[in-house]
């Protein structure tokens, strides 16, 4: 199996995430797009680990992917809490409305 296929798929997913982050206005959908980009990076890491460096005793690529999954879960929790706070204060989750540092 050639590494080109998974790497191209990861590039496509990352580009889709970039499109979502720029085009979407709902803050939750922006968070979903960020998750897409993180998952694209995970595919890259696993591809490099299993196709290019399969004999690595410290399974570096897959370990990095695991840690990214954990950090992404934490990021989703805090990000959604911030979105809820913004919704309670401003009655809107539109990222165009979030233009004040404090009030």
């Amino acid at each position: 199996m050639s590494p080109i296929g998974p790497l191209l798929l990861a590039a496509f997913l990352f580009s889709a995430g970039v499109y979502g982050v720029i085009a979407r206005r709902n803050a939750v959908l922006v968070l979903i797009s960020v998750e897409l980009m993180l998952n694209a990076v995970n595919i890259n890491l696993v591809t490099f680990q299993n196709l290019l460096f399969p004999g690595d005793p410290a399974v570096t690529g897959q370990m990095f992917a695991l840690f990214i999954i954990g950090v992404a879960a934490a990021e989703v929790g805090v990000g959604l809490a911030i979105v809820f706070n913004m919704f309670r204060n401003r009655a809107s989750v539109d990222v165009d409305d979030a233009d004040l540092m404090r009030w």
């Binding site: 998974p6 580009s15 720029i22 797009s33 695991l66 959604l80």
Partner: protein, 205 residues
Amino acid sequence: MTGHDLVFVAVGLLTAGGAVFTVTSKNLMHAALFFAVTLGGIAGVFLTLAADFLALVQIVVYVGAVAVLFMFGLMLTRAPIGREALDGQNRGLAMAVAGGLFVVLSTLVIGAFGDLPTAEVTGPRIDDLGIAIFADWVLPFEVLSMLLLAALIGAIVLARRESGESGEELTVTRIEMAQDRDPEALEREQAALTSGSGGTGEEHA
């Protein structure tokens, strides 16, 4: 092209299609469900890449927890539905940036890895993974657990209502529209105010 490649192409097309619909869907819940499909497809990609443990972690953490969390988030923040409400005015800019990025990334990837021979997919055994976590990666593992704890507490502190200061109802000035009340009551109130007799506080008791 082996059967392995065919399976990867099928799963990859499913994943890419899910991602496209995730970022372009007009309906919020449909976007979240397409996101779940994309995550499941990525788990399938991990399986074809012989990363079994990671595929299971992906299903448990992402499809099981994160996708449901996003659906909760979308339902709790009632948002307008429709393309104009969901997408900003800069859709053309987003398309240009994303398309340009994809072209640049694909040319870089093909230029760097295009001439590599096709290798047999071999993943590490799951006991090698466990030994690697608790031998080589034990410090990042513990730091990650502390990070998760901090994120948990931070999310609770951010999302809870501030019961200390605003737990009791605030006394707010009620502004009533004059046309909403019936005119007779308004007249009686007016008369009571002009006559001056009787506490005005008793009218609405």
